[in-house]
């Protein structure tokens, strides 16, 4: 029974990481009708931005002079600013130019954007962070040893707490973010405008909604959410690699499709379903870890074939 509870906790935690990336996919798809395939890479960029900022702040002695909570909040703000900016760059250069092109064009361009983000992290993280930290800290500055090696994520979440406390905090933060997102989407004018665009872009335009502005705000919010995902991923995984984004992107996208691509709660359901399948196949089938991803993607294929609208998504009739 101990094993069951252990697996349950692992599945929920993994589900949280998939969910947050999947919600990013849902947000962007809902408003833009575009699959932004570099969501996973933006999240990993967020965790690297936080790691880089940590090294710089530590070198500058800020962790000694400011309260720990303030430092962590600052790191989160820095990560959010970087990811929001990256979200806007993605929109401006990878999506906007292809608005009137085939659906495949933004898909391909966001895959390309993911590769660019990944390689920029792999090539420039070390020199960029070391330059800044040396400028701030002089000889006593911390430095990143090798940018393409796995990087140890600093203990920023419950650093003195137990692993269980840290895990529960990750789950609580995920729920909190989802709740805030729900309130934003359903209780604010901006959020309702996003939903309106998601349901009918033409009608939204006719009713006076500034679609371009809403799209930009969506990318800002999506970027901030992915930065928080990166923070939680790093806190959970401890070692981050610059090329982790593709895997999280694939899992996040699959989760969003399984749940219902336009539906935020569908992303939650899809993320949890995929994580539960992976973890329990790994846990209960002998040598199951080798097959966990296969089984998870078979589930995705089954949903695409038999329930293409996803777990929570609504069926839409297309007039021909």
């Amino acid at each position: 029974m101990d094993m069951f509870w252990g697996l349950l906790m692992s599945a929920i935690l993994l589900g949280c990481t998939y969910t947050l990336v999947a919600v990013g996919f849902s947000l962007f798809f809902g408003v833009m009708d575009v699959v932004v395939f570099c969501c996973g890479d933006i999240a990993i960029f967020g965790s690297f931005a936080i790691m880089g900022a940590y090294v710089a702040m530590k070198s500058a002695g800020l962790f000694d002079s400011l309260p720990f909570v303030v430092c962590v909040a600052l790191l989160l703000v820095i990560g959010a600013v970087f990811c929001a900016a990256l979200g806007l760059v993605t929109y401006r250069f990878s999506i906007k130019p292809f608005q009137n092109s085939s659906e495949l064009m933004p898909l391909l361009s966001t895959i390309a954007m993911g590769t660019i983000i990944k390689e920029i992290l792999g090539l420039l993280f070390k020199p960029a962070v070391n330059t800044v930290s040396t400028a701030l800290g002089g000889e006593s500055a911390l430095s990143v040893v090798s940018g393409r090696n796995p990087q140890g994520f600093p203990a920023l979440l419950m650093p003195n707490g137990t692993v269980t406390e840290r895990n529960i905090t990750i789950i609580v933060i995920t729920i909190l973010i989802l709740a805030l997102l729900f309130l934003f989407l359903n209780r604010t004018k901006m959020g309702l405008s996003m939903q309106a665009i998601s349901q009918n872009k033409e009608l939204s335009l006719m009713t006076g909604i500034n679609v371009s502005r809403i799209i930009i705000i969506t990318f800002l919010i999506g970027g901030i959410m992915l930065a928080i995902s990166g923070f939680l991923l790093g806190s959970y995984q401890k070692l981050m690699s610059f090329d982790d984004g593709a895997m999280y992107g694939a899992k996040g996208f699959s989760a969003a499709v399984v749940g219902g691509l336009r539906n935020t709660w569908g992303a939650v359901a899809g993320g949890m379903l995929l994580a539960f399948v992976e973890v329990f196949v790994s846990g209960y089938i002998p040598r199951g870890t080798s097959y966990a991803s296969i089984v998870a993607f078979v589930v995705v294929v089954i949903f695409i074939v038999f329930k293409p609208e996803g777990i929570i998504g609504e069926k839409t009739a297309e007039k021909v």
Binding site: G6, L7, S146, P150, V163, L239, M247, V279, G283, R287
Partner: protein, 394 residues
């Protein structure tokens, strides 16, 4: 309008210049002998690959500086990124250069296995410095393929002797990745268990890009195993050790293979990494004069990558190739090097390397390391050996 004699003069000057350039180019070619180096200089195994590249180039630079050779030895560096197709492309790049007389390569067995046919077909000898899958050296590959590093089987023997015979652990859970390196180690350690009539309580092989091993950690916890063997590289090994620690599985021996002995393993944190026992090929460098000289020489270069488990092997691979070049006279060829390398006898940091009938080194050395307070320490110098600390699962 130019006169005929003026035109003739212009053409004469042009031909003379072109001729001189060709002669100069040929002379420059004759004065350069090229050697290929392949390894994971970037990617998740870059800590080992980049340090190996540094050591290899260092040995070649030393040979060039010695003035012993009438030609310059140049190294063509190829980053295989621990990936088969990238490695094969890199091997093609090396063999297509006519000045190449030999190559040394690979920390990962998969890229090594994929690239071996390229070297064999081109009849360019390849000396493997770090890939340990046993089957890479065999009677079909000799004399083109030789290896100065021990095989997975040779590495697992001293580890098994320590943890099975001396420590007496009997309740095992064995884990590896499903890649070539992991699979080779998995089978090598399983054979060691089988030879002592021990059946593991559980076994798991995971895809190489797995980052979430929590389910495996829970399985290990539920199995009641007292010892875990991880036959994988640092990316899987470090995550498994950390996630075992997170799952509260601390009273257990965690041991494994040299692929984990990198500085990256320590990034999981002092507490999580504590007590990991890993076999390392070679000797304790600090304990020998030649080893200390190597450390001094390497550190004097200011490389950003510290010496890894296979760094001395890459250095020795370069020494072996330089030694073979000596036997090939003033104009070494790939054919002459193919004959010279398996017959060579090179004394380096770790003793004298000679090769057996299948091109495998006969100079096998290995020792054990343990993580103590966040750093790798040779077991025999650790508090685990002196009895101040103890491994879990006893």
């Amino acid at each position: 309008m130019c006169s005929k004699s003026k035109l003739f003069s212009i053409f004469a000057v042009m031909f003379l210049t072109a001729g001189l350039l060709l002669v100069a180019g040929a002379a420059a070619d004759a004065a350069v002998v090229k050697i290929g180096f392949l390894g994971p200089i970037t990617g998740s195994d870059a800590a080992e690959g980049a340090a190996a590249r540094n050591a290899f180039s260092l040995a070649i630079n030393e040979a060039n500086k010695s003035g012993e050779f009438k030609y310059k030895i140049e190294v063509i560096e190829v980053d295989d990124q621990s990936t088969e197709n990238v490695a094969v492309a890199g091997a093609q790049e090396i063999v297509s250069d006519s000045a190449v007389v030999a190559a040394s390569g690979f920390w990962n067995s998969g890229p090594a296995a994929a690239s071996i046919p390229v070297f064999k077909e081109s009849e360019i000898p390849l000396l493997i410095w770090g890939a340990i899958r046993e089957t890479l050296t065999n009677k079909d590959n000799v004399p083109y393929i030789t290896r100065s590093a021990p095989t997975d089987k040779q590495e697992n023997i001293p580890l098994a002797a320590k943890v099975l015979d001396e420590f007496g652990y009997k309740d095992w859970f064995i884990v590896s990745d499903i890649g070539s390196y992991g699979d080779g180690n998995f089978n090598a350690f399983k054979a060691e268990l089988a030879s002592r009539k021990i059946a593991p309580l559980g076994e798991e092989q995971v895809p190489e890009d797995t980052t979430d091993l929590n389910a495996v950690a829970q399985k290990i916890k539920a199995s009641g195993a007292k010892a875990v063997y991880c036959g994988s590289t640092v990316s899987i090994g470090s995550q498994l050790k950390r996630q075992l620690s997170d799952a509260g599985v601390k009273d257990i021996l965690f041991c494994g293979i040299s692929g984990m002995k990198t500085e990256d393993f320590l990034k999981i944190g002092v507490d999580a990494a504590e007590g990991a026992l890993v076999v390392s090929p070679g000797i304790i460098l600090e304990d020998s004069a030649k080893g200390r000289d190597f450390i001094k020489l390497y550190n004097a270069q200011g490389f950003s990558e510290p010496i890894g488990a296979y760094t001395p092997y890459a250095y020795e691979a370069a020494l072996i190739l330089v030694n073979a070049l000596r036997d090939c006279g003033e104009t070494p060829t790939a054919k002459a090097m193919t004959e010279a390398i398996p017959k060579s006898k090179t004394t380096g940091i770790m003793g004298t390397t000679t090769f057996n009938e299948i091109g495998q080194t006969e100079n096998v050395a290995a020792y054990l390391n343990v993580v103590q307070d966040g750093v790798w320490v040779p077991l025999e110098k650790s508090e685990y050996q002196s009895g101040k600390r103890s491994f879990g699962g006893k």
